[in-house]
């Protein structure tokens, strides 16, 4: 066997290298910089690295590279997704810096290892010690996601999955307030996530056994040459799907979502909901469209069912939620279903619509969770729905921004969510999935009910006398909410350029 040195196109992976490199440097900053300056250095470092990475990605627009012996495929879809992930990460990092809302400091516990309620925790809080590992952790997760969307073989994909997941497990358990809930969520996410990873790995093994290849191009060549698919391949495909459907919170792999979304620090929840969903969805697209394109008839059936159940379960269960974060979690599940509708279309228009949807959903989600951090009482964020009554009368701007995000989630025209839903549904009907779209519309109607309920509560109800206050955020948080709101309107009114970008990007390279 001849050994051929792999071609390494460093320019193509430079954004990933930048982000992961910044993460490593941030670890060093944590170890060696004076405590008082760690946070500041890490924030600047993270934002600069992300900005340069974004610039690099934009500069490579229109290129498509297969490198590292097929392990990395940086094509239009990957670039679009990487750009979205970088933007989501940067917005989340800005939210991390918020220290004005909570009298005790930023949103994270001073020491994850200190027992909740312990003397150590109290002392560290009093000394205003800041948790600065969150920045490298987030950068590692972000870098993992950027590899995930560009992975060209199953092993790279698995490694990327782990790289992005492990930091998230940690981040989930670092909340400053309601620490037990936060630790529980991190534990739950870790256990179930490890389980899902195992499924993915087993699926990879079976697919390798059936096709003799780990690269997507090799699997594709092996699969499309056959007449009927054998059980081993189908089971492998199913197990791979489990691993990825878990990450996008599709039913029946959604059980972790409400607990983790509720327990994790809200700024991390926003990051997970936006960036993780984008990464996992694009990976799912690439795996099924590129590697398993020959089994399209099989996986459309599988995803059809998962999409229908996900939309309905997500919307129906959201109806009965009384906690705003849990409600947004179920909303996120329902949106995973809507995204799958676009995927079932199984054509380029489907990919483009999903990419656009991921971008607008992610931005609105980060904005919505940022608003959640603003509404507070003595115990931290007031996430019970009853606390939100009359918010529109006390802080009209905050409530208006949140209402805008909810209307976008509900898909009301002149918001970005409408254009996203429209393009997904159009792609699906064109792909012959009219019945699924009808289910999606029913789910949309149900979903509209709980979004509207929050608007009713905020604007039409009288405020409770001892209700929570809306804190005055730092410029960073205010800017994130403003950017998310403006983009939500802008992409609803003039979506043309971004839609075109998504359409041009929607080509996979094998």
């Amino acid at each position: 066997m001849d050994f051929v040195a792999p071609s390494l196109d460093m320019a193509a992976v430079m954004p990933i290298v930048l982000v992961l490199g910044a993460a490593v440097v941030a670890v060093l900053v944590d170890a060696f910089a004076p405590p008082a300056r760690r946070a500041g250095i890490n924030v600047v470092l993270s934002l600069v690295a992300l900005a340069v990475a974004l610039g690099w990605i934009v500069g490579r627009a229109g290129t498509a590279v297969v490198s590292f012996n097929g392990a990395v495929v940086v094509d239009g879809v990957a670039l679009f997704a990487q750009a979205a992930i970088v933007v989501f990460t940067a917005l989340s990092v800005l939210l991390y810096t918020e220290t004005r809302l909570d009298p005790a400091g930023d949103p994270f516990t001073p020491a994850g290892a200190a027992l909740p309620g312990s003397e150590l925790e109290r002392v560290l809080t009093l000394q205003r010690v800041r948790q600065t590992e969150v920045y490298p952790l987030t950068l590692f997760a972000s870098g993992g996601m950027m590899i995930f969307v560009a992975a060209g073989d199953l092993l790279t994909m698995f490694v990327a999955l782990e790289v992005l997941s492990l930091p998230l497990y940690l981040l989930s358990s670092l909340s400053r307030r309601k620490r037990l809930l936060s630790q529980e969520s991190g534990m739950k996410y870790f256990l179930l996530g490890a389980f899902a990873s195992a499924f993915f790995l087993y699926g990879a093994a079976l697919v390798y056994g059936a096709t003799g290849s780990l690269t997507f191009a090799g699997i594709d060549a092996a699969v499309s040459g056959r007449v009927g698919a054998e059980p081993m391949l189908l089971v492998g495909m199913g197990l791979l799907a489990v691993g990825l459907l878990f990450k996008i919170s599709a039913v029946p792999f959604q059980f972790w979502t409400p607990d983790v979304y509720q327990g994790a620090p809200t700024v991390v929840t926003g990051f997970m909901a936006a960036a993780t969903k984008t990464a996992a969805f694009v990976a799912l697209l690439r795996l099924f469209y590129v590697a398993l394109g020959g089994l399209v008839a099989d996986w459309t059936v599988l995803l059809w069912v998962v999409a229908a159940v996900t939309m309905l379960v997500g919307s129906v269960l959201a109806l009965s939620q009384t906690d705003i974060k849990r409600m947004l979690a179920y909303s996120s599940i329902a949106h995973a279903g809507f995204l799958l509708v676009g995927m079932v279309a199984a054509d380029t228009a489907g990919i483009a619509s999903v990419l656009f949807y991921l971008l607008v959903y992610g931005l609105a989600t980060i904005g919505a969770f940022a608003v959640v951090t603003l509404v507070r009482d003595a115990g931290g964020e007031a996430t019970h729905l009853s606390a939100w009554a009359g918010l529109g009368r006390r802080s009209p701007l905050t409530a208006a921004a949140f209402a805008l995000f909810l209307l976008s989630f509900a898909g009301i025209p002149l918001t970005s969510g409408f254009i996203a839903k429209l393009s997904v549904f159009a792609a699906a009907i064109d792909g012959g999935q009219a019945a699924l779209v009808v289910i999606a519309l029913v789910a949309s109607a149900i979903a509209a009910f709980f979004y509207v309920r929050v608007i009713v509560l905020m604007f039409f109800s009288e405020p409770a006398p001892d209700g929570p206050t809306v804190g005055v955020p730092s410029a960073a948080t205010a800017a994130v909410v403003a950017v998310a709101a403006v983009v939500t309107v802008l992409l609803g009114v003039i979506p043309g350029p971004v839609l075109e970008l998504a359409t041009t990007a929607a080509e996979f390279v094998r």
Binding site: R393, P396, L407, A410, I412, P413, L414, F418, I419, L422, S423, F425, A426, I429, D430, A434, V437, V438, L441, S444, A445, A448, F449, V452, R453, V456, F459, F460, S461, I494, P495, G496, L499, E500, T503
Partner: protein
């Protein structure tokens, strides 16, 4: 050429932004600005309307700008006779309603400028929907206009406003989502690669019968919820009762006309085969609406609910005329959309005057009002007579045309619908009798008569109702011009006068 129609649509929207930016501490400035903008819009409407030529193409003063190229969406506007009638109604009704809202906004204790800004926004979206010649543009505005109306009811309405607002929104949103599926389905009927939402292109398509049937249902449910047709009407009584009187006047007088407008301007030309196939079913539902609305109105004890159910009955008449598919019926229905808008607005406004004085919506709390307030009694009588289609008023011309047009194709339906007129006489006269005649009660004795502001507001409605009743021809010519072309698109001709109906299809 100057973009008159775009100006017409964007002027109120710009006004809404300006009003929203005014300082909250100066509510009067917001009111005056909003009314000024709506009057300016009326002027633009008149200027644009005068350029409309009867006998010209179906859509005139057309404008087209590509909006979202990848979606095939364009900002396409055009003025047909049908849209001219409804645009005129909107432009006339808005300043009146804004004037009537003067005291309502103060009474709510909530932001006055938001109230006025929302109404202007709503007006802009409605004008856009009436003028749009792009199906997706129509859908976007049709759906987006729910939001300002929802906030208007939910923030400024009565005790059960939350319930009413949510019910209003969910009903209409559900219909809208079905329509969205149909809009996409319609779009995909076009040849791949050159698909658009342009109405003219979509009308030219040849769609097979089964697909047409599905798309027809998708559009019709949305429109039948909006212009409430039995059994999808239940949101209107709640919304109209809980909304302030002027909001209710605007809602059932003007906003809901988008539904019936959609039936004439979109459903008929887009789905000619399905229209003919399902016309008997729709006619049946319309007759049920006429009778059901009328009978339930008789049983109501709440003034606003009476008017709301009367509206359902009248919407039944409008739908009946549209789906009779005769030139008289369709033209009569379109004429009725205008006259019903004026008549219902007048009824709700007078009811608002009464409620503002007595502080109650219940019939039982009134009595003998004509002694202390004879002019108010006169107003209610005129508005009521327009509701029961008194000859000499515009509503009479409309109902007569609709029934005439229906009779030539569906005799039984027309005969049953005629009963609706008798029911109308009952509920209107009962309402008048219980509130205005009889002995005064201690509570009604000191009630003041109509003030100058109120008289000024309602006078234009009465003048128009009488003017259009005496001389309907100018407006009817404009409408007839368009409805004839629309019916030609459907491919129906009027049945011969002697024989009943053409044989089965």
């Amino acid at each position: 050429m100057f973009p008159w129609l775009t100006t017409l649509v964007l002027l109120p929207a710009a006004g809404a932004v300006i009003v929203a930016l005014l300082p909250a501490a100066r509510p009067t400035a917001a009111k005056v600005t909003a009314i000024g903008v709506s009057l300016l819009t009326l002027v633009v409407m008149v200027v644009a309307g005068l350029q409309f030529e009867v006998g010209g193409p179906l859509y005139q003063l057309t404008e087209q700008v590509t909006w979202v190229a990848p979606l095939g969406l364009s900002w396409s506007l055009g003025l047909s006779g049908i849209s001219l009638a409804l645009v005129a109604l909107t432009a006339v009704a808005t300043p009146i309603v804004l004037g009537a809202m003067w005291t309502e906004a103060d009474a709510s204790g909530r932001s006055v400028k938001a109230f006025y800004a929302l109404v202007l926004l709503l007006q802009s979206m409605m004008l856009g929907a009436f003028l749009s010649t792009d199906v997706l543009l129509f859908y976007i505005l049709f759906e987006a206009m729910l939001i300002p109306m929802y906030f208007l009811i939910g923030m400024y309405g009565g005790e059960r406003r939350q319930y009413a607002a949510v019910k209003f929104l969910l009903y209409n949103l559900f219909g809208g989502l079905l329509m969205l599926a149909a809009v996409i389905g319609l779009y995909l009927q076009g040849p791949a690669g050159e698909r658009t939402f342009a109405l003219a292109d979509l009308v030219a398509l040849d769609i097979d019968a089964t697909t047409q049937a599905w798309l027809f249902v998708g559009f019709m449910i949305a429109f039948a919820i909006k212009a409430p047709l039995w059994p999808l009407h239940t949101w209107l009584p709640d919304a109209a009762t809980e909304a302030t009187p002027s909001q209710a006047a605007y809602l059932s007088g003007v906003v809901d006309k988008v539904g019936t407008f959609g039936m004439v301007a979109l459903v008929l030309p887009l789905f000619p085969d399905a229209t003919q196939r399902f016309a008997p079913v729709v006619v049946g539902l319309a007759v049920v609406s006429v009778l059901y609305g009328g009978m339930v109105a008789i049983g109501q004890t709440d003034i606003k609910r009476i008017i709301a159910f009367a509206s359902i009955s009248h919407f039944g008449v409008i739908v009946l005329g549209i789906f009779a598919l005769t030139s008289q019926g369709t033209a009569g229905s379109t004429f009725y959309m205008v006259s019903h808008g004026l008549s219902t607005a007048a009824l709700f406004l007078v009811a608002g005057f009464m409620i503002a004085r007595r502080g109650s919506r219940q019939l039982a709390d009134y009595g003998g009002l004509q002694k202390p307030a004879p002019i108010l009694a006169g107003f209610l009588l005129v508005a009521g007579l327009s509701g029961l289609a008194m000859p000499g008023l515009a509503t009479f011309v409309s109902e007569f045309l609709v029934l005439l047009g229906t009779f030539s194709r569906y005799q039984v339906a027309a005969a049953l619908a005629t009963v609706g007129i008798i029911l109308a006489a009952l509920y209107i006269l009962i309402m008048y009798q219980r509130t205005m005649t009889g002995p005064t009660t201690p509570q009604t004795e000191g009630i003041k008569d109509v003030r100058g502001r109120e008289a000024v507001l309602i006078a234009p409605l009465f003048v128009l109702l009488i003017a259009l009743g005496v001389a309907p021809a100018p407006l009817l010519d404009v409408i007839d011009d368009s409805t004839q072309q629309t019916l030609a698109e459907v491919g129906v001709t009027d049945p011969p006068p002697v024989f009943a109906a053409e044989g089965g299809e």
